[in-house]
Every structure is written in structure tokens, then in C-alpha cells.
Amino acid sequence: MSTLQDLKIHLQSALGAQAQRIWIEAEALIVFVESSGIRHALTKLRDDPDTSFDIMSFMTAVDYHPRQPRFEVVYELYSTRRKHRVRIKCLLAAPKNELELPEIDTVSDIYLAANWHERECYDLMGIHFRKHPDLRRILLPARWDGHPLRKEYPFDGKREWNLGTTVIDGALMEGDLGL
């Protein structure tokens, strides 16, 4: 598996129909995977001795509002043995009901690194990871309302300022710092 081209051909045969689109761009191999099959695909890429992607460098999410499907979840994998990378992407449609969050399965049991990354995704982008062991906010205060990296969120968060004051009063009254 020397070149990116070889890796691409191998992934095509390994993932089969699961790889919806696969192409090379700016020296990166990008694969679109059906969101329902993400656990299966990542397990396969990790355990296949030819790919052996043993590390998840990071995972994140992108908001492409107003495009549909609106969200993209991105997983960047690396193999310490074979020294190659791949970028896996999943498209997620925003649910009709605005209060519901788009959903995808957790991969935190496949790659432990994904645990906190998924919490960050949930915190800032509002993506719900099914069966995540501990899906709480990780960066913002626990009582925060909304997901600030979404496009509809006000840039300077003015709406939240009042809330911030209530957060403080509430935290002081209850003797809990809202962490």
C-alpha cells in the first residue's frame, strides 16, 4: 500500500457499496460513508491489516446551512503502522422539528479519542451521538442554551448574555458552579 491511489483502490473494494463517493483531493483521500454504517466502516478500517487505521486524529462537524443535508461529520484517521491517513465524512440531515438534534451512532468505543470529540461536537454543533456513554457539554457551562457554532446562532451571542447572568445567580444560589 504505497501510494494514495493504491489505498483508494483498496478502500473501494474493502468498503464496497458503503463508500458512496471516494476521491483524492489536495493529497488527502476522502470517503463519503452512509451515516447508518459509520460504526461498521470504522471498525473495518481499524481492523483490516492492510489499512490498520489505529488512531483517530480528530473528529469534528461542519454546518453547511442552508444546504441539505445540512451537517457533515468528519473523521480523520491515521495509521501509525502504515503512515497513511484517510478522511471519512458522513452527511446528516437536519430534523424537521427544530428542537430535535441530528443523530449519528457514537464511535467512542471503537476509537477512545472520539469520546471527548463527540462531546465537543454535541456542545458546539448540537449533534446527538446515539449510545455515547456520557454525552454532556464539555466546553460551555452546563446550563448553556443552544449550540454556538451553528450558523443560525447570533455571532456575538447577545441573546445569551442575559442567560449568562442567570447562570451566575443560579450557580451562586445553589452553591454549584455550573461546571
Binding site: L139, L140, P141, W144, P148, Y153, P154, F155, D156, G157, E160, W161, N162, G164, T165, T166, V167, I168, D169, A171, L172, L177, G178, L179
Partner: protein
Amino acid sequence: MINAPSMDDRRPYIDNWKPGEGAVWLTKLDQALRLAQTNSIWPLTAGLACCAIEMMCTAAARFDQARFGAEVYRATPRQADLLIVSGRMSWKMAPIVRELWEQMPHPKWCISMGACASCGGVFQTYSIVPGVDQIVPVDVYVPGCPPRPEALLDALIKLQNKIRSGQAKNPFAEPAGRMDGA
């Protein structure tokens, strides 16, 4: 009310004082107290962001905050009477800073150091408190990003003047920008 003698009133006594003679100065108790408070400010060791580096520099040898009697940085709020909010404060940090402020014994004062602490600075975003006076009552604001140590010393002297003349914020003052009216 009887006013304590001014420096001019005392001048003849001071000028004519000879070694070996006794001397008595009259003053009011709270004036004497304020004089003591002015010259022994103990700041809290609390840095929030890059401005804190400049605060440390102010305390170190080159700028030597000790010249103004304010070098004893205390590591616990229970022994401190000056909170220098040095740097940007996030909404997540705000309850913690407020808790530190509540733990400080009266009388206590607050300096808002830097553009970020005073108004949010360049961080016009959802996560940064746009001015720490929403959280704690501020006596002196210091502009700059970060303010030079001289600027912080200037703020300290301004605060000392306010304390000496009794113009510092009431220690029980509420933060300025509380929007819920509480």
C-alpha cells in the same frame, strides 16, 4: 461635624517641632484607617489570560509593585483585598471569579485590567463576558492590550487616591451591569 486638621493647619507644628519634644496629631479614626488601607493593599493571585503575565511583571523586580506597598499577592481570597481581573473572562469562569470576590473580606476593591476585562476587547463572541463589571463592581479600569506595567501601577495609585479620599466604591456595591435588576 469637626473636620480633622488639614496638612496646612499642621504645618506650623511640624515646622517648629524640635527633636526630643512630644508631638500630637489629630485625625479621624476612619481617615487613619484609610491611610493604613491605602498603603497595604494585598492583591489576589488570580490571572485570567495574557494580561496576567503583565501583572506578574508589575510585581517583579523591574517595576517593583512593593514600592507602593501592594506586593503581597495572596494565594487565598480570604487574605486579599484587591481583585485585579487580569484578562478576558469567559461565562464559564464568571461564577468562579464572583465566588472569589464574595470570599474576599471587606473592605475590598477591584481593578479591571486590559481591554478584554473592561469591555470584552477583541473577543466579541458568545463565550466572553463583555465587561467584568457585570460580575463584580469595578473601581479602576485600565485600557491597553495588554496594559504596560506602568499603566497598572498608575491604576494602583489612582485606586490608592480613591481609598485615601474615601471615594472608592462602597465595598457592598453591586456590579454595574446587572441586567436582571437583582
